[in-house]
Protein backbone atom coordinates (compact mmCIF):
# COMPACT_ATOMS: atom_id res chain seq x y z
CA UNK A 1 0.00 0.00 0.00
CA UNK A 2 1.08 3.53 -0.76
CA UNK A 3 0.62 5.93 2.13
CA UNK A 4 -0.12 9.60 1.68
CA UNK A 5 1.14 12.21 4.12
CA UNK A 6 0.37 15.89 4.34
CA UNK A 7 2.30 18.53 6.23
CA UNK A 8 0.77 21.98 6.07
CA UNK A 9 0.49 24.53 8.87
CA UNK A 10 -2.38 26.48 7.36
CA UNK A 11 -5.68 24.82 8.38
CA UNK A 12 -7.63 26.04 5.38
CA UNK A 13 -5.12 24.76 2.87
CA UNK A 14 -4.70 21.49 4.72
CA UNK A 15 -8.42 20.77 4.78
CA UNK A 16 -8.59 21.58 1.07
CA UNK A 17 -5.71 19.25 0.27
CA UNK A 18 -7.28 16.47 2.36
CA UNK A 19 -10.60 16.79 0.59
CA UNK A 20 -9.02 16.76 -2.89
CA UNK A 21 -6.95 13.69 -2.04
CA UNK A 22 -9.85 11.82 -0.42
CA UNK A 23 -11.97 12.57 -3.45
CA UNK A 24 -9.44 11.06 -5.81
CA UNK A 25 -8.91 8.07 -3.55
CA UNK A 26 -12.64 7.43 -3.83
CA UNK A 27 -12.74 7.99 -7.58
CA UNK A 28 -9.87 5.64 -8.33
CA UNK A 29 -9.32 2.11 -7.22
CA UNK A 30 -5.86 2.77 -5.85
CA UNK A 31 -4.13 0.70 -3.20
CA UNK A 32 -3.49 3.94 -1.36
CA UNK A 33 -4.64 5.69 1.80
CA UNK A 34 -4.26 8.99 3.56
CA UNK A 35 -2.05 7.98 6.48
CA UNK A 36 -1.52 11.30 8.20
CA UNK A 37 -2.35 14.93 7.83
CA UNK A 38 -0.08 16.92 10.13
CA UNK A 39 0.19 20.62 10.86
CA UNK A 40 3.84 20.48 11.91
CA UNK A 41 6.94 18.57 10.79
CA UNK A 42 7.65 16.95 14.17
CA UNK A 43 4.38 14.99 14.19
CA UNK A 44 5.05 13.81 10.66
CA UNK A 45 8.62 12.71 11.35
CA UNK A 46 7.59 10.92 14.55
CA UNK A 47 4.92 9.05 12.64
CA UNK A 48 7.38 7.94 9.95
CA UNK A 49 9.90 6.85 12.57
CA UNK A 50 7.36 4.66 14.38
CA UNK A 51 6.01 3.07 11.18
CA UNK A 52 9.07 2.26 9.13
CA UNK A 53 9.15 0.38 5.86
CA UNK A 54 6.25 2.18 4.25
CA UNK A 55 6.23 3.78 0.84
CA UNK A 56 4.96 7.31 1.02
CA UNK A 57 3.70 10.12 -1.09
CA UNK A 58 4.26 13.38 0.75
CA UNK A 59 2.56 16.72 0.16
CA UNK A 60 4.63 19.34 1.95
CA UNK A 61 4.19 23.04 2.48
CA UNK A 62 7.48 24.89 2.02
CA UNK A 63 6.95 27.64 4.59
CA UNK A 64 5.94 25.69 7.70
CA UNK A 65 6.25 28.50 10.29
CA UNK A 66 8.54 26.19 12.21
CA UNK A 67 12.24 25.70 12.92
CA UNK A 68 12.67 23.72 9.74
CA UNK A 69 11.23 24.46 6.32
CA UNK A 70 9.67 22.10 3.82
CA UNK A 71 12.92 21.49 1.91
CA UNK A 72 14.79 20.49 5.05
CA UNK A 73 11.83 18.36 6.09
CA UNK A 74 11.96 16.61 2.71
CA UNK A 75 15.66 15.85 3.21
CA UNK A 76 14.83 14.32 6.62
CA UNK A 77 12.00 12.27 5.14
CA UNK A 78 14.30 10.96 2.41
CA UNK A 79 16.64 9.68 5.11
CA UNK A 80 13.83 7.65 6.68
CA UNK A 81 11.93 6.67 3.53
CA UNK A 82 14.41 6.31 0.69
CA UNK A 83 11.78 5.85 -1.99
CA UNK A 84 9.66 8.77 -0.77
CA UNK A 85 7.81 10.71 -3.45
CA UNK A 86 7.65 14.38 -2.55
CA UNK A 87 5.34 17.09 -3.82
CA UNK A 88 5.73 20.65 -2.61
CA UNK A 89 2.83 22.97 -2.12
CA UNK A 90 4.01 26.56 -2.05
CA UNK A 91 2.64 30.00 -1.51
CA UNK A 92 3.72 32.49 -4.16
CA UNK A 93 6.23 31.22 -6.64
CA UNK A 94 9.07 30.91 -4.16
CA UNK A 95 11.72 30.69 -6.81
CA UNK A 96 13.27 27.39 -5.89
CA UNK A 97 12.09 25.06 -8.57
CA UNK A 98 15.60 23.84 -9.44
CA UNK A 99 16.31 23.14 -5.79
CA UNK A 100 13.00 21.28 -5.47
CA UNK A 101 13.63 19.26 -8.55
CA UNK A 102 17.30 18.39 -8.22
CA UNK A 103 18.17 18.57 -4.55
CA UNK A 104 15.07 16.92 -3.14
CA UNK A 105 14.08 15.23 -6.40
CA UNK A 106 10.56 16.44 -5.80
CA UNK A 107 8.04 15.08 -8.28
CA UNK A 108 6.18 18.36 -8.58
CA UNK A 109 5.59 21.67 -6.86
CA UNK A 110 2.10 23.06 -6.83
CA UNK A 111 1.72 26.80 -6.30
CA UNK A 112 -1.19 27.69 -4.03
CA UNK A 113 -2.05 30.71 -6.13
CA UNK A 114 -3.09 28.79 -9.24
CA UNK A 115 -6.84 28.22 -9.90
CA UNK A 116 -8.44 25.52 -7.75
CA UNK A 117 -9.30 23.17 -10.61
CA UNK A 118 -5.78 23.41 -11.99
CA UNK A 119 -4.34 22.59 -8.56
CA UNK A 120 -6.72 19.67 -8.23
CA UNK A 121 -5.71 18.33 -11.64
CA UNK A 122 -2.05 18.46 -10.67
CA UNK A 123 -2.61 16.79 -7.32
CA UNK A 124 -4.52 13.99 -9.09
CA UNK A 125 -1.71 13.67 -11.61
CA UNK A 126 0.87 13.39 -8.83
CA UNK A 127 -1.16 10.65 -7.17
CA UNK A 128 -1.45 8.81 -10.46
CA UNK A 129 2.26 9.00 -11.25
CA UNK A 130 3.33 8.12 -7.70
CA UNK A 131 1.04 5.12 -7.72
CA UNK A 132 2.39 3.94 -11.06
CA UNK A 133 5.95 4.28 -9.75
CA UNK A 134 4.96 2.39 -6.63
CA UNK A 135 3.57 -0.46 -8.74
CA UNK A 136 6.63 -0.47 -10.99
CA UNK A 137 8.89 -0.64 -7.97
CA UNK A 138 6.90 -3.54 -6.51
CA UNK A 139 6.59 -5.76 -9.54
CA UNK A 140 9.90 -5.48 -11.27
CA UNK A 141 13.47 -5.31 -10.17
CA UNK A 142 14.75 -2.49 -12.28
CA UNK A 143 18.51 -2.48 -12.52
CA UNK A 144 20.35 0.78 -12.03
CA UNK A 145 23.76 2.00 -13.03
CA UNK A 146 25.03 3.88 -10.00
CA UNK A 147 27.54 6.69 -9.90
CA UNK A 148 28.73 8.07 -6.61
CA UNK A 149 29.65 11.73 -6.33
CA UNK A 150 30.97 11.80 -2.79
CA UNK A 151 27.92 10.76 -0.80
CA UNK A 152 25.54 11.83 -3.50
CA UNK A 153 24.26 8.90 -5.55
CA UNK A 154 23.15 9.14 -9.14
CA UNK A 155 21.07 6.25 -10.45
CA UNK A 156 20.36 5.67 -14.12
CA UNK A 157 18.04 2.76 -14.97
CA UNK A 158 19.60 0.29 -17.41
CA UNK A 159 16.62 0.73 -19.69
CA UNK A 160 17.46 4.43 -20.18
CA UNK A 161 21.10 3.84 -21.10
CA UNK A 162 21.89 3.80 -24.81
CA UNK A 163 25.65 3.39 -24.72
CA UNK A 164 28.87 4.28 -22.93
CA UNK A 165 31.64 6.09 -24.72
CA UNK A 166 35.21 6.83 -23.79
CA UNK A 167 36.28 10.06 -25.36
CA UNK A 168 39.61 10.59 -27.10
CA UNK A 169 39.91 14.13 -25.83
CA UNK A 170 38.96 13.25 -22.31
CA UNK A 171 41.01 10.31 -21.28
CA UNK A 172 39.85 10.14 -17.69
CA UNK A 173 36.17 10.41 -18.26
CA UNK A 174 33.39 8.22 -19.59
CA UNK A 175 30.24 9.43 -21.26
CA UNK A 176 26.91 7.79 -20.52
CA UNK A 177 24.40 8.51 -23.28
CA UNK A 178 20.65 8.39 -22.73
CA UNK A 179 17.91 9.63 -25.04
CA UNK A 180 17.94 13.12 -23.63
CA UNK A 181 21.18 13.46 -21.71
CA UNK A 182 24.91 12.86 -21.59
CA UNK A 183 26.55 12.16 -18.26
CA UNK A 184 30.27 12.71 -18.01
CA UNK A 185 31.85 10.89 -15.10
CA UNK A 186 35.17 9.49 -14.01
CA UNK A 187 35.64 5.92 -15.13
CA UNK A 188 37.18 3.52 -17.55
CA UNK A 189 35.51 1.68 -20.40
CA UNK A 190 36.71 -1.68 -19.10
CA UNK A 191 34.70 -1.15 -15.90
CA UNK A 192 31.43 -0.78 -17.77
CA UNK A 193 32.35 -3.58 -20.18
CA UNK A 194 32.06 -5.90 -17.18
CA UNK A 195 28.43 -4.94 -16.46
CA UNK A 196 27.16 -7.87 -18.51
CA UNK A 197 23.78 -8.21 -20.19
CA UNK A 198 22.37 -6.16 -21.88
CA UNK A 199 25.67 -4.31 -22.29
CA UNK A 200 28.31 -5.44 -24.72
CA UNK A 201 31.58 -3.93 -25.80
CA UNK A 202 31.53 -3.26 -29.51
CA UNK A 203 34.70 -1.22 -29.84
CA UNK A 204 37.55 -0.28 -27.55
CA UNK A 205 35.78 2.99 -26.79
CA UNK A 206 32.13 1.90 -26.85
CA UNK A 207 29.92 -0.31 -24.72
CA UNK A 208 26.43 -0.50 -26.15
CA UNK A 209 23.06 -1.54 -24.73
CA UNK A 210 21.89 -4.37 -27.02
CA UNK A 211 18.23 -3.41 -26.53
CA UNK A 212 18.91 0.02 -27.98
CA UNK A 213 20.45 -1.01 -31.27
CA UNK A 214 18.27 0.04 -34.18
CA UNK A 215 20.36 -1.55 -36.90
CA UNK A 216 23.81 -2.86 -37.69
CA UNK A 217 25.61 -1.84 -40.85
CA UNK A 218 27.94 -4.77 -41.46
CA UNK A 219 29.67 -3.20 -44.47
CA UNK A 220 30.76 0.01 -42.80
CA UNK A 221 30.85 -1.63 -39.37
CA UNK A 222 28.48 0.87 -37.78
CA UNK A 223 25.71 0.54 -35.22
CA UNK A 224 22.77 2.88 -35.33
CA UNK A 225 21.38 3.56 -31.87
CA UNK A 226 17.69 4.21 -31.23
CA UNK A 227 18.30 7.95 -30.92
CA UNK A 228 20.01 8.16 -34.31
CA UNK A 229 23.62 8.24 -33.06
CA UNK A 230 26.01 5.97 -34.89
CA UNK A 231 28.98 4.21 -33.30
CA UNK A 232 31.65 1.99 -34.76
CA UNK A 233 32.14 -1.74 -34.18
CA UNK A 234 35.56 -3.28 -34.31
CA UNK A 235 36.11 -6.04 -36.85
CA UNK A 236 36.66 -8.81 -34.36
CA UNK A 237 33.57 -8.06 -32.30
CA UNK A 238 31.02 -7.85 -35.10
CA UNK A 239 30.16 -11.56 -35.06
CA UNK A 240 29.74 -11.53 -31.31
CA UNK A 241 27.39 -8.55 -31.52
CA UNK A 242 25.21 -10.12 -34.19
CA UNK A 243 25.04 -13.35 -32.27
CA UNK A 244 24.05 -11.60 -29.02
CA UNK A 245 21.44 -9.61 -30.88
CA UNK A 246 19.87 -12.77 -32.23
CA UNK A 247 19.65 -14.12 -28.72
CA UNK A 248 17.88 -10.96 -27.60
CA UNK A 249 15.47 -10.96 -30.52
Amino acid sequence: MLHIFICEDNDVHRTKLESVISKHLLLNDFDMSLALSANNPTTLLDNIKTHTGRNGLYFLDVDLQCDINGIELAVEIKKLDVSATIVFVTTLSEMSHLVFKYKVEAMDYIPKDIPANEAERRIAECMQVAYQRFLDGKHSSIKYFTIKIGDQVLNTPYRDILYFESSVNQRHKLLLHTTDSILEFRGHINDVARLGSPFIMCHQSYVVNLDKIRQVDKVNRLIEISNGDTITISRRRIAEILQSMNVVI
Binding site: M95, L98, Y102, I149, Q152, N169, Q170, E184
Partner: protein, 352 residues
Protein backbone atom coordinates in the same frame (compact mmCIF):
# COMPACT_ATOMS: atom_id res chain seq x y z
CA UNK B 1 47.62 0.31 -16.14
CA UNK B 2 46.21 -0.55 -19.53
CA UNK B 3 48.01 -1.89 -22.55
CA UNK B 4 48.45 1.48 -24.21
CA UNK B 5 50.23 3.07 -21.30
CA UNK B 6 52.38 -0.01 -20.83
CA UNK B 7 53.39 0.00 -24.47
CA UNK B 8 54.17 3.68 -24.37
CA UNK B 9 56.47 3.31 -21.41
CA UNK B 10 58.12 0.25 -22.86
CA UNK B 11 58.81 2.09 -26.07
CA UNK B 12 60.12 5.16 -24.28
CA UNK B 13 62.48 3.03 -22.19
CA UNK B 14 63.63 1.12 -25.23
CA UNK B 15 64.41 4.32 -27.09
CA UNK B 16 66.34 5.84 -24.23
CA UNK B 17 68.41 2.70 -23.68
CA UNK B 18 69.08 2.37 -27.37
CA UNK B 19 70.26 5.96 -27.69
CA UNK B 20 72.59 5.72 -24.75
CA UNK B 21 73.95 2.41 -25.82
CA UNK B 22 74.61 3.62 -29.32
CA UNK B 23 76.16 6.94 -28.41
CA UNK B 24 78.32 5.80 -25.54
CA UNK B 25 79.27 2.28 -26.42
CA UNK B 26 79.55 2.38 -30.14
CA UNK B 27 80.53 5.90 -30.95
CA UNK B 28 82.29 7.38 -27.98
CA UNK B 29 84.20 4.28 -26.96
CA UNK B 30 85.52 3.80 -30.45
CA UNK B 31 86.65 7.32 -30.91
CA UNK B 32 87.68 8.61 -27.54
CA UNK B 33 88.65 5.52 -25.59
CA UNK B 34 90.09 3.22 -28.19
CA UNK B 35 91.22 6.17 -30.28
CA UNK B 36 90.27 4.28 -33.39
CA UNK B 37 87.82 4.86 -36.13
CA UNK B 38 86.03 1.91 -37.63
CA UNK B 39 84.22 2.87 -40.78
CA UNK B 40 82.22 -0.36 -40.61
CA UNK B 41 80.30 1.04 -37.64
CA UNK B 42 78.83 3.73 -39.78
CA UNK B 43 78.37 1.98 -43.04
CA UNK B 44 74.69 1.58 -42.65
CA UNK B 45 72.28 4.32 -43.26
CA UNK B 46 70.05 2.56 -40.78
CA UNK B 47 72.19 3.49 -37.84
CA UNK B 48 72.13 7.28 -38.12
CA UNK B 49 68.46 6.94 -38.84
CA UNK B 50 68.00 4.98 -35.65
CA UNK B 51 69.87 7.63 -33.72
CA UNK B 52 67.51 10.30 -34.78
CA UNK B 53 64.47 8.08 -34.43
CA UNK B 54 65.43 6.94 -30.98
CA UNK B 55 66.13 10.53 -30.07
CA UNK B 56 63.00 12.00 -31.50
CA UNK B 57 60.47 9.38 -30.48
CA UNK B 58 60.77 9.80 -26.75
CA UNK B 59 60.66 13.51 -27.28
CA UNK B 60 57.50 13.21 -29.31
CA UNK B 61 55.96 10.98 -26.69
CA UNK B 62 56.98 13.36 -23.95
CA UNK B 63 55.49 16.30 -25.73
CA UNK B 64 52.38 14.35 -26.70
CA UNK B 65 51.76 13.33 -23.15
CA UNK B 66 51.95 16.98 -22.15
CA UNK B 67 49.51 18.16 -24.76
CA UNK B 68 48.09 16.75 -27.93
CA UNK B 69 48.92 19.93 -29.80
CA UNK B 70 52.55 19.93 -30.93
CA UNK B 71 53.61 23.30 -32.35
CA UNK B 72 54.77 22.99 -35.99
CA UNK B 73 58.33 24.08 -35.36
CA UNK B 74 59.08 21.01 -33.27
CA UNK B 75 58.54 19.00 -36.42
CA UNK B 76 60.72 21.36 -38.39
CA UNK B 77 63.64 20.98 -36.00
CA UNK B 78 63.16 17.23 -35.93
CA UNK B 79 63.02 16.93 -39.69
CA UNK B 80 65.95 19.25 -40.30
CA UNK B 81 68.15 17.28 -37.95
CA UNK B 82 66.93 13.97 -39.27
CA UNK B 83 67.80 15.01 -42.79
CA UNK B 84 71.21 16.24 -41.69
CA UNK B 85 72.00 12.96 -39.98
CA UNK B 86 70.76 10.98 -42.96
CA UNK B 87 72.78 13.01 -45.43
CA UNK B 88 75.94 12.59 -43.35
CA UNK B 89 75.29 8.88 -43.03
CA UNK B 90 74.78 8.61 -46.75
CA UNK B 91 78.01 10.54 -47.48
CA UNK B 92 79.98 8.21 -45.23
CA UNK B 93 78.26 5.19 -46.70
CA UNK B 94 79.17 6.23 -50.20
CA UNK B 95 82.69 6.82 -49.06
CA UNK B 96 82.74 10.44 -50.12
CA UNK B 97 83.52 11.62 -46.65
CA UNK B 98 85.28 9.43 -44.17
CA UNK B 99 85.63 11.67 -41.17
CA UNK B 100 83.77 10.31 -38.23
CA UNK B 101 83.39 13.92 -37.16
CA UNK B 102 80.78 14.31 -39.87
CA UNK B 103 78.52 11.93 -38.09
CA UNK B 104 79.34 12.83 -34.54
CA UNK B 105 78.70 16.52 -34.97
CA UNK B 106 75.10 16.17 -36.10
CA UNK B 107 74.48 13.37 -33.61
CA UNK B 108 75.74 15.42 -30.69
CA UNK B 109 74.20 18.53 -32.16
CA UNK B 110 70.95 16.73 -32.44
CA UNK B 111 70.90 15.69 -28.86
CA UNK B 112 72.15 18.97 -27.47
CA UNK B 113 69.72 21.03 -29.50
CA UNK B 114 66.72 18.81 -29.49
CA UNK B 115 66.48 17.81 -25.86
CA UNK B 116 66.66 21.41 -24.54
CA UNK B 117 64.14 22.36 -27.17
CA UNK B 118 61.68 20.01 -25.50
CA UNK B 119 61.97 21.93 -22.30
CA UNK B 120 61.67 25.10 -24.25
CA UNK B 121 58.52 23.83 -25.92
CA UNK B 122 57.10 22.78 -22.60
CA UNK B 123 57.76 26.22 -21.18
CA UNK B 124 56.36 27.84 -24.26
CA UNK B 125 53.17 25.85 -23.93
CA UNK B 126 52.94 26.66 -20.27
CA UNK B 127 53.38 30.35 -20.96
CA UNK B 128 50.88 30.26 -23.75
CA UNK B 129 48.39 28.72 -21.39
CA UNK B 130 49.14 31.37 -18.81
CA UNK B 131 48.75 34.13 -21.38
CA UNK B 132 45.42 32.67 -22.40
CA UNK B 133 44.35 32.62 -18.79
CA UNK B 134 45.49 36.20 -18.33
CA UNK B 135 43.55 37.42 -21.31
CA UNK B 136 40.48 35.59 -20.01
CA UNK B 137 40.93 37.29 -16.65
CA UNK B 138 41.39 40.62 -18.35
CA UNK B 139 38.25 40.17 -20.33
CA UNK B 140 36.40 39.37 -17.17
CA UNK B 141 37.78 42.46 -15.50
CA UNK B 142 36.67 44.60 -18.42
CA UNK B 143 33.24 43.05 -18.17
CA UNK B 144 33.15 43.88 -14.53
CA UNK B 145 34.13 47.48 -15.16
CA UNK B 146 31.42 47.69 -17.80
CA UNK B 147 28.94 46.31 -15.35
CA UNK B 148 30.01 48.78 -12.67
CA UNK B 149 29.62 51.65 -15.11
CA UNK B 150 26.21 50.38 -16.00
CA UNK B 151 25.22 50.15 -12.36
CA UNK B 152 26.61 53.59 -11.71
CA UNK B 153 24.52 55.03 -14.53
CA UNK B 154 21.46 53.21 -13.26
CA UNK B 155 22.12 54.54 -9.79
CA UNK B 156 22.46 58.10 -11.04
CA UNK B 157 19.27 57.78 -12.98
CA UNK B 158 17.55 56.43 -9.90
CA UNK B 159 18.83 59.35 -7.81
CA UNK B 160 17.57 61.74 -10.41
CA UNK B 161 14.15 60.06 -10.46
CA UNK B 162 14.04 60.04 -6.69
CA UNK B 163 14.68 63.79 -6.62
CA UNK B 164 11.87 64.30 -9.09
CA UNK B 165 9.53 62.11 -7.09
CA UNK B 166 10.22 63.89 -3.83
CA UNK B 167 9.96 67.35 -5.35
CA UNK B 168 6.65 66.53 -6.98
CA UNK B 169 5.39 65.08 -3.72
CA UNK B 170 6.49 68.28 -2.10
CA UNK B 171 4.24 70.19 -4.50
CA UNK B 172 1.26 67.99 -3.64
CA UNK B 173 1.98 68.43 0.06
CA UNK B 174 2.26 72.18 -0.12
CA UNK B 175 -1.01 72.37 -2.02
CA UNK B 176 -2.47 69.84 0.44
CA UNK B 177 -3.74 67.94 -2.58
CA UNK B 178 -4.01 64.53 -0.86
CA UNK B 179 -6.22 62.98 -3.52
CA UNK B 180 -3.76 63.97 -6.23
CA UNK B 181 -0.90 62.60 -4.15
CA UNK B 182 -2.69 59.28 -3.70
CA UNK B 183 -3.23 59.00 -7.43
CA UNK B 184 0.36 60.00 -8.07
CA UNK B 185 1.58 57.36 -5.64
CA UNK B 186 -0.60 54.61 -7.07
CA UNK B 187 -0.01 55.44 -10.72
CA UNK B 188 3.64 56.44 -10.77
CA UNK B 189 5.59 55.47 -7.69
CA UNK B 190 4.17 52.04 -6.98
CA UNK B 191 4.78 50.58 -10.44
CA UNK B 192 8.24 52.12 -10.57
CA UNK B 193 9.05 50.62 -7.20
CA UNK B 194 7.86 47.23 -8.40
CA UNK B 195 10.22 47.43 -11.37
CA UNK B 196 13.13 48.31 -9.10
CA UNK B 197 12.59 45.42 -6.71
CA UNK B 198 11.64 42.80 -9.29
CA UNK B 199 15.07 42.37 -10.81
CA UNK B 200 16.97 42.41 -7.56
CA UNK B 201 14.66 39.95 -5.89
CA UNK B 202 15.41 37.30 -8.49
CA UNK B 203 19.11 37.44 -7.68
CA UNK B 204 18.72 37.91 -3.94
CA UNK B 205 20.11 34.45 -3.15
CA UNK B 206 23.48 35.48 -4.55
CA UNK B 207 24.23 36.84 -1.08
CA UNK B 208 24.38 33.21 0.12
CA UNK B 209 27.44 32.51 -2.01
CA UNK B 210 30.39 33.31 0.19
CA UNK B 211 33.15 32.66 -2.30
CA UNK B 212 34.10 35.98 -3.78
CA UNK B 213 35.21 34.82 -7.22
CA UNK B 214 32.17 32.63 -7.74
CA UNK B 215 29.82 35.29 -6.47
CA UNK B 216 31.35 37.87 -8.77
CA UNK B 217 31.15 35.75 -11.94
CA UNK B 218 27.54 34.86 -11.14
CA UNK B 219 26.68 38.50 -10.41
CA UNK B 220 28.33 39.72 -13.59
CA UNK B 221 26.78 37.17 -15.90
CA UNK B 222 23.35 37.13 -14.31
CA UNK B 223 23.01 40.90 -14.24
CA UNK B 224 24.28 40.94 -17.82
CA UNK B 225 21.46 38.55 -18.68
CA UNK B 226 18.96 40.75 -16.86
CA UNK B 227 20.19 43.82 -18.71
CA UNK B 228 19.65 41.97 -21.98
CA UNK B 229 16.04 41.56 -20.93
CA UNK B 230 16.33 37.87 -20.11
CA UNK B 231 14.14 36.58 -17.34
CA UNK B 232 16.75 35.37 -14.85
CA UNK B 233 16.51 33.60 -11.52
CA UNK B 234 19.13 32.38 -9.11
CA UNK B 235 18.47 29.90 -6.35
CA UNK B 236 20.58 28.89 -3.40
CA UNK B 237 18.82 27.34 -0.44
CA UNK B 238 21.70 27.64 2.00
CA UNK B 239 25.04 29.38 2.36
CA UNK B 240 27.86 28.09 0.17
CA UNK B 241 31.17 28.65 1.92
CA UNK B 242 33.49 26.34 0.08
CA UNK B 243 33.70 24.43 -3.17
CA UNK B 244 36.19 21.56 -3.32
CA UNK B 245 37.66 22.68 -6.62
CA UNK B 246 40.13 25.27 -7.80
CA UNK B 247 38.20 28.56 -7.81
CA UNK B 248 39.70 29.77 -11.10
CA UNK B 249 38.55 26.59 -12.81
CA UNK B 250 35.01 26.80 -11.49
CA UNK B 251 34.85 30.48 -12.48
CA UNK B 252 35.96 29.63 -16.02
CA UNK B 253 33.50 26.77 -16.26
CA UNK B 254 30.58 28.83 -14.97
CA UNK B 255 31.60 31.63 -17.32
CA UNK B 256 31.42 29.32 -20.33
CA UNK B 257 28.11 27.75 -19.28
CA UNK B 258 26.48 31.10 -18.55
CA UNK B 259 27.80 32.68 -21.75
CA UNK B 260 26.36 29.84 -23.79
CA UNK B 261 23.01 30.07 -22.04
CA UNK B 262 22.84 33.84 -22.46
CA UNK B 263 23.83 33.59 -26.12
CA UNK B 264 21.10 31.07 -26.82
CA UNK B 265 18.49 33.09 -24.95
CA UNK B 266 19.40 36.35 -26.66
CA UNK B 267 19.08 34.67 -30.07
CA UNK B 268 15.75 33.16 -29.07
CA UNK B 269 14.55 36.53 -27.71
CA UNK B 270 12.43 34.67 -25.15
CA UNK B 271 12.71 32.12 -22.40
CA UNK B 272 14.23 31.97 -18.97
CA UNK B 273 17.63 31.44 -17.43
CA UNK B 274 17.53 29.41 -14.23
CA UNK B 275 20.69 29.08 -12.20
CA UNK B 276 21.02 27.24 -8.92
CA UNK B 277 23.72 26.30 -6.48
CA UNK B 278 23.19 23.94 -3.58
CA UNK B 279 24.83 21.27 -1.49
CA UNK B 280 23.47 17.76 -1.53
CA UNK B 281 24.91 15.12 0.78
CA UNK B 282 28.09 17.14 1.01
CA UNK B 283 28.68 17.53 -2.71
CA UNK B 284 28.24 20.86 -4.41
CA UNK B 285 25.85 21.16 -7.34
CA UNK B 286 25.61 23.93 -9.91
CA UNK B 287 22.74 23.98 -12.35
CA UNK B 288 22.49 26.23 -15.38
CA UNK B 289 19.23 25.78 -17.23
CA UNK B 290 17.94 27.74 -20.19
CA UNK B 291 15.15 27.59 -22.69
CA UNK B 292 16.51 26.44 -26.02
CA UNK B 293 15.37 26.26 -29.63
CA UNK B 294 13.05 23.32 -30.39
CA UNK B 295 15.26 21.92 -33.14
CA UNK B 296 18.45 21.84 -31.09
CA UNK B 297 21.18 19.59 -32.57
CA UNK B 298 21.80 16.31 -30.78
CA UNK B 299 23.82 16.50 -27.58
CA UNK B 300 26.56 14.45 -29.17
CA UNK B 301 26.91 17.01 -31.95
CA UNK B 302 27.00 19.84 -29.43
CA UNK B 303 29.96 18.22 -27.72
CA UNK B 304 32.03 17.93 -30.89
CA UNK B 305 35.17 20.08 -30.67
CA UNK B 306 34.66 23.36 -32.48
CA UNK B 307 30.95 22.88 -32.98
CA UNK B 308 28.77 25.92 -32.60
CA UNK B 309 25.21 26.82 -33.45
CA UNK B 310 26.68 30.09 -34.66
CA UNK B 311 28.83 28.64 -37.40
CA UNK B 312 32.52 28.08 -37.81
CA UNK B 313 35.12 29.71 -35.60
CA UNK B 314 32.80 29.88 -32.62
CA UNK B 315 31.92 27.22 -30.13
CA UNK B 316 35.33 26.99 -28.56
CA UNK B 317 33.58 27.34 -25.26
CA UNK B 318 32.27 23.84 -24.74
CA UNK B 319 35.49 22.41 -26.08
CA UNK B 320 37.45 24.30 -23.44
CA UNK B 321 34.91 23.26 -20.84
CA UNK B 322 35.44 19.56 -21.50
CA UNK B 323 39.19 20.08 -21.51
CA UNK B 324 38.80 21.60 -18.04
CA UNK B 325 36.49 18.89 -16.77
CA UNK B 326 38.81 16.09 -17.86
CA UNK B 327 41.46 17.06 -15.36
CA UNK B 328 39.01 17.18 -12.47
CA UNK B 329 38.46 13.72 -11.02
CA UNK B 330 35.83 14.84 -8.53
CA UNK B 331 33.62 16.48 -11.12
CA UNK B 332 30.64 14.88 -12.85
CA UNK B 333 28.76 16.72 -15.57
CA UNK B 334 25.22 16.00 -16.69
CA UNK B 335 24.02 17.64 -19.89
CA UNK B 336 20.40 17.17 -20.86
CA UNK B 337 17.73 18.49 -23.17
CA UNK B 338 14.10 17.97 -22.32
CA UNK B 339 10.97 19.94 -23.19
CA UNK B 340 13.01 22.69 -24.84
CA UNK B 341 15.05 23.13 -21.69
CA UNK B 342 18.83 22.78 -21.91
CA UNK B 343 20.38 21.85 -18.59
CA UNK B 344 23.99 21.61 -17.52
CA UNK B 345 24.59 20.23 -14.08
CA UNK B 346 27.99 20.25 -12.40
CA UNK B 347 28.34 17.92 -9.44
CA UNK B 348 31.46 18.32 -7.35
CA UNK B 349 32.28 15.67 -4.80
CA UNK B 350 33.98 16.81 -1.63
CA UNK B 351 36.58 14.05 -1.88
CA UNK B 352 38.09 12.22 -4.79
Amino acid sequence: MNLRTALKWFFLLFCIIFTFQYIYVSLLTDIFVLQIYRPSSYQHVLEPMLISLSGSLPVMILVRSETSRIPPYVHWIAHALLTLVLVCGLLIYLGWVDFSIWLIIPAIGFISVYIPSVFFVKRYLHEQKKAQQNSADREQLLHRIDELMHQYTAMRKFKHDQCNIFSSMDIFATDENWVGMKHYYNDKIKPAFAVITEGDFALESLTRINIQEVKSILTIKLSMAQNLGINTTFEADAAIDDIPIDSITIVRMLGILLDNAIEELSTLKMGTLFVACFKKNGSTNFIVQNTCRPNIPSLRTLRQPGFSTKGKGRGLGLDTLFELTDSLPNLTVLTSVKDEMFTQKLMIASEV
